[in-house]
């Protein structure tokens, strides 16, 4: 009767002398794997977004969280006039990145996406653009 209890407490006490597994978040930050699927980013090339508004990402998105509206610029080129991802709906599957034919979309290690208002979770094109 008493033996199993002592065995259990042995394990408990042994942990007092081991290295802690918990992370003191937010003081300490975890090291995120290089292929972690965090916040999306719209890649930039020649000072403009690489996205050509082909609509393949909203087409493939299983959560239907991407909104794209194409526009025509002064050179008659297609560009994303509106590009929005609703992070509340996003399931971070990465299909959008996989579907992108021009490698305009990526996913960062950024995972701290908490916010105060629902509207703040809708990431507009400006917020998604790659920071350099």
């Amino acid at each position: 009767m008493i033996v199993p209890l002592i065995k259990g407490l042995q394990i408990t006490f042994s942990h007092l002398f081991k290295k802690a597994v918990t992370l003191q978040y937010p003081e300490e930050k975890p090291v995120v794997a290089p292929r972690f699927r965090g916040l999306h980013t719209l890649k930039v090339s020649h000072n403009s977004a690489k996205c050509v508004a082909c609509y393949l990402c909203p087409t493939v998105c299983p959560a239907k969280c991407i909104t794209v509206e194409a526009g025509e610029d002064a050179n008659h080129e297609k560009f994303a006039a509106v590009y929005e991802i609703d992070m509340l709906r996003c399931i971070f599957c990465g299909f959008c990145v996989e579907a992108c034919p021009v490698d305009a979309l990526g996913m960062t290690q950024e995972f701290e996406l908490a916010n105060y208002k629902r509207t703040d979770f809708v990431f507009s094109k400006e917020r998604l653009l790659e920071k350099r």
């Binding site: 508004a53 082909c54 393949l56 909203p58 087409t59 194409a70 297609k78 034919p101």
Partner: protein
């Protein structure tokens, strides 16, 4: 019939079929890029290569090879697959792989075949083309770099549209599709080339970058512009109609559309749509709730009903569905008890409701659209038939070019139709149509060419004695058509095995009324050209449901006021409440002053419309309604075809359909519930309307049903009046522009980009005499008023005759016309 074997499957097809047709009939798909079922075989792309047992040693193109008895065809051997893959590799060598930004992606034949044949590498390398892209055209964007030289655009423009805007130029690697002299594209803007382009070389500019093809919800419906009744597929996304989608299997026209049908859909989601009811308070229209607006309308209607039902009048547009027209008739004729209900200015429906009624005892054409291609001789009244009914115009093109139909055009001006191969035109002085038709009838009788059976028909003796007084020589002089031409036309018409008469009607044809219809019906009856395939007379109604409005008797039938009298009644105070549904008398009815005076007279005016039109601006209550894309119902088109429209999007703003509004008014005014779906109302229509008895919404299906008619021919003598002429003045004709239909197309972006304002068209000689050239402003003056218009110089107009379209509100032509077929005007710089 020919028997052959395709992929071990026995097939029996007609002897003029190709291997491609035979395979299609057997349900075997052969890939192809350069073929459309409407076009002649071309054999340009080499994708349809097949193997024929009897022609071993080489691969045979299926689309150009006719079938022969006992042929054994294989469509998918290894050799064929390799050959097709090579064809694709060669096409992709020059084709830019810009699928992500190409609007054709998803609907691109080349893309689909590349995927199907797994062409993921290319054994060849070369530079891509660097042709300039045509961004200037308002509706059609041409990117020659994507072109795969299938030639479909140039062939459809030539074979069906008969315009010939494109052709191949240069040779070898330099070859490309070009416009004449490589100048900017200036055509009819029907967009047929876009519809058949297998890649994205031709794209619809209004739809450019709007949505991807696969994201569109495709809803089959019927066009709501002219009376032809073309079926169209609306491309819908996020509750917005974004484009029209081509479907080669739709309707008698095989998906072929005209400029306004293809590019004029933007009115549906226009920013100018009314979204709330409006009530006039202190002289301005202010938004109100539906309850308030309906209560006001009900109180005014019931007040007027109690005091004098005949003080209520209604003008209803033939653009509404049959169900809505039926309810309108019920509301005004049965519930309120007034017979003053009319449409199309009171004159544009008379060919059907009076002319045919008298001559044939029915209010619908005895002939069908398919008769156009089955006839031997086609007599068209006015070359404008092409402008008002372009898709019927395509049928005429096909009849002339493919079936060898003898085309005769009796018109006051030249036009597209008169330029068709071997078309014979009889250009007469404006307003002398009835005289000429009488002269033809007289000539038929004189030459003893009348059908013996016609002599026993009622009215024969009356017609004979009436025509005895007619002198062909005098008419010839008055109309400006040689005697020989008249007699020759009479002989040819009477002797033709099959002959069909086309008569377009509408607000733009003030002279095409009951008399002209009866005169033409006389020709058909006299010569026995009735009740046979390819014979008879086909009336082309102007609006999408002109035929339905005639069938449902949306006109005074018991001595009520017609449209003109209703407006006069408003002015005199006899009409206290005027209910206008969709009509725009201020712009489209003749004599603008009369309409304006009537609306300002103090009568209580209710307008139901999609937009705050010029008429709606003068109303006391304006009710927003749904467009054809937001409701269900049926339209009856030219040739009595009853077709269904389907709801594509939900209501814009708070708009309600005319059916819902009218049903509510009926319920509130009569106390008895009136409601029910479109299908239930259609059952009521079927029970009460002659000809519709065999129809139900289930039986209509995708292609609609042509309701049967039985005619009782009667010869009706008609007296033609020699048109008055005024020396030194120009004969002004009004009509339709090719890009517009009524006043609704002004709210469509496409038609306005091509033809955005009114103009005055005149011939070169007259332009020279007046010293004006294209684009100048000219002053037009008639007894009623004067106008400044932009000049358009063309080859259509004979000397002394000018033309102005009636659709526009600025420099509105109805401020100088009064509804006569011809208005005499002076022109000055």
């Amino acid at each position: 019939m020919v028997n052959l074997t395709i992929d071990d499957k026995q097939v029996t097809v007609a002897k003029d079929a190709t291997i491609f047709d035979a395979a299609k009939a057997a349900g075997i798909r052969i890939p192809i890029l350069c073929h459309d079922k409407k076009l002649h075989p071309f054999g340009g792309c080499r994708m349809c290569l097949v193997e024929v047992e009897q022609m071993k040693g080489r691969l045979i193109p299926a689309c150009t090879t006719p079938v022969t008895e006992g042929m054994i065809v294989r469509t998918t051997t290894d050799e064929i697959m390799t050959a097709r893959k090579l064809v694709l590799e060669l096409l992709l060598l020059k084709h830019p792989l810009d699928c992500p930004v190409c609007d054709a992606a998803g609907d691109c034949d080349l893309q689909n075949l590349t995927y199907e044949y797994k062409v993921n590498a290319n054994k060849f390398t070369d530079e891509k083309f660097r042709w300039d892209i045509d961004y200037e055209n308002p509706l059609i964007e041409r990117d020659q770099n994507r072109c795969i030289h299938c030639g479909k655009c140039s062939r459809i423009c030539d074979e069906i549209v008969a315009f010939g805007a494109y052709s191949f130029v240069n040779r070898g690697i330099e070859a490309k599709i070009s416009t004449p002299f490589d100048e900017k594209l200036d055509c009819e803007y029907c967009g047929s080339c876009i519809s058949v382009c297998p890649v994205g070389a031709l794209i619809a500019k209004p739809f450019k970058f709007k949505a991807r093809w696969w994201a569109l919800n495709k809803v089959k419906s019927v066009c709501s512009y002219c009376g032809t009744g073309c079926q169209l597929t609306l491309g819908v996304k996020d509750n917005k109609v974004l484009t029209t989608v081509y479907d080669e299997d739709q309707g008698f026209h095989n998906g072929q559309l005209c400029s306004r049908g293809r590019f004029g859909y933007q009115f549906i989601n226009s920013d100018k749509r009314l979204t709330t009811p409006l009530i006039k308070k202190n002289g301005t229209l202010v938004p109100a709730s539906w309850e308030e607006a309906i209560d006001l309308v009900v109180s005014r209607l019931s007040e007027a009903k109690k005091s004098d039902p005949s003080s209520v009048a209604a003008l209803v547009t033939p653009r509404l569905t049959n169900e809505e027209l039926y309810l309108f008739r019920k509301l005004f004729k049965d519930v309120i008890g007034t017979d003053s209900i009319d449409h199309s200015a009171g004159y544009a429906h008379k060919a059907l409701t009076e002319g045919l009624k008298e001559s044939f005892g029915i209010t619908a054409s005895p002939s069908l659209i398919e008769d156009i291609q089955k006839t031997d001789l086609l007599l068209v009244l006015k070359s404008d038939a092409y402008e008002t009914h372009p898709v019927i115009g395509f049928e005429i093109n096909l009849a002339v070019k493919r079936q060898g139909v003898d085309l005769r055009i009796l018109s006051d001006k030249s036009g597209k139709l008169t330029r068709l191969p071997d078309a014979k035109k009889y250009i007469h002085k404006p307003g002398s149509e009835i005289l000429l038709v009488n002269a033809i009838a007289k000539s038929i009788l004189d030459q003893n060419l009348a059908d013996p059976a016609a002599q026993s028909l009622p009215g024969f003796d009356a017609l004979k004695s009436a025509l005895a007084a007619v002198s062909i020589e005098q008419i010839s002089a008055a109309a400006g058509v040689p005697v020989e031409a008249i007699t020759r036309l009479a002989t040819d018409y009477a002797k033709a095995g099959k002959a069909l008469i086309l008569l377009p009607i509408g607000l733009g044809y003030p002279g095409h009324g009951s008399e002209l219809t009866s005169a033409l019906a006389n020709l058909a009856i006299l010569t026995g050209k009735l009740n046979k395939e390819g014979c008879g007379i086909l009336i082309l109604g102007e609006k999408n449901n002109s035929q339905g409005a005639a069938d449902l008797a949306i006109h005074p039938t018991a001595g009520g006021r017609d449209a003109g009298a209703i407006l006069e009644g408003c002015t005199s105070g006899a009409v206290k409440v005027l209910y206008i549904a969709g009509e725009n008398p201020v712009v489209s009815y003749p004599d603008k002053a009369k309409s304006v005076k009537a609306l300002e007279s103090g009568a209580f005016v209710v307008v139901q419309d999609l937009f705050l039109t010029e008429t709606a601006q003068m109303a006391d209550v304006v009710l927003p309604v749904k467009s054809f894309a937001e409701k269900c119902g049926t339209f009856t088109s030219v040739g009595r075809n009853v077709q269904q429209i389907r709801k594509a999007i939900s209501a814009v703003g708070q708009s309600r359909s005319d059916r819902e509004i009218t049903a509510e008014l009926i319920s509130k005014l009569s106390g008895a519930a009136c409601g029910g779906s479109s299908a239930e109302i259609f059952t009521e229509i079927a029970a009460s309307t002659p000809g519709y008895s065999s129809l139900s919404t289930d039986s209509l299906g995708d292609n609609g049903v042509i309701y049967p008619v039985v005619i009782t021919p009667k010869l009706v003598p008609v007296v033609g009046v020699v048109p008055e002429t005024e020396e030194g003045k120009f004969a002004l004709l009004i009509g339709s522009s090719l890009y517009h239909c009524g006043t609704m197309s002004r709210y469509g972006e496409g038609p306005m980009l091509v033809c955005g304002e009114s103009y005055l068209e005149l011939g070169r000689t007259d332009a020279g005499k007046l010293g004006v050239s294209e684009g100048d402003t000219i002053k037009l003056k008639s007894a009623a008023g004067e106008l400044n218009l932009k000049v358009k110089v063309g080859t259509r107009m004979p000397e002394g005759v000018v033309f102005v379209p009636y659709h526009f509100e600025t420099s509105a032509i109805n401020s100088v016309t009064a509804g006569n077929p011809v208005t005499w005007v002076t022109l000055s710089r």
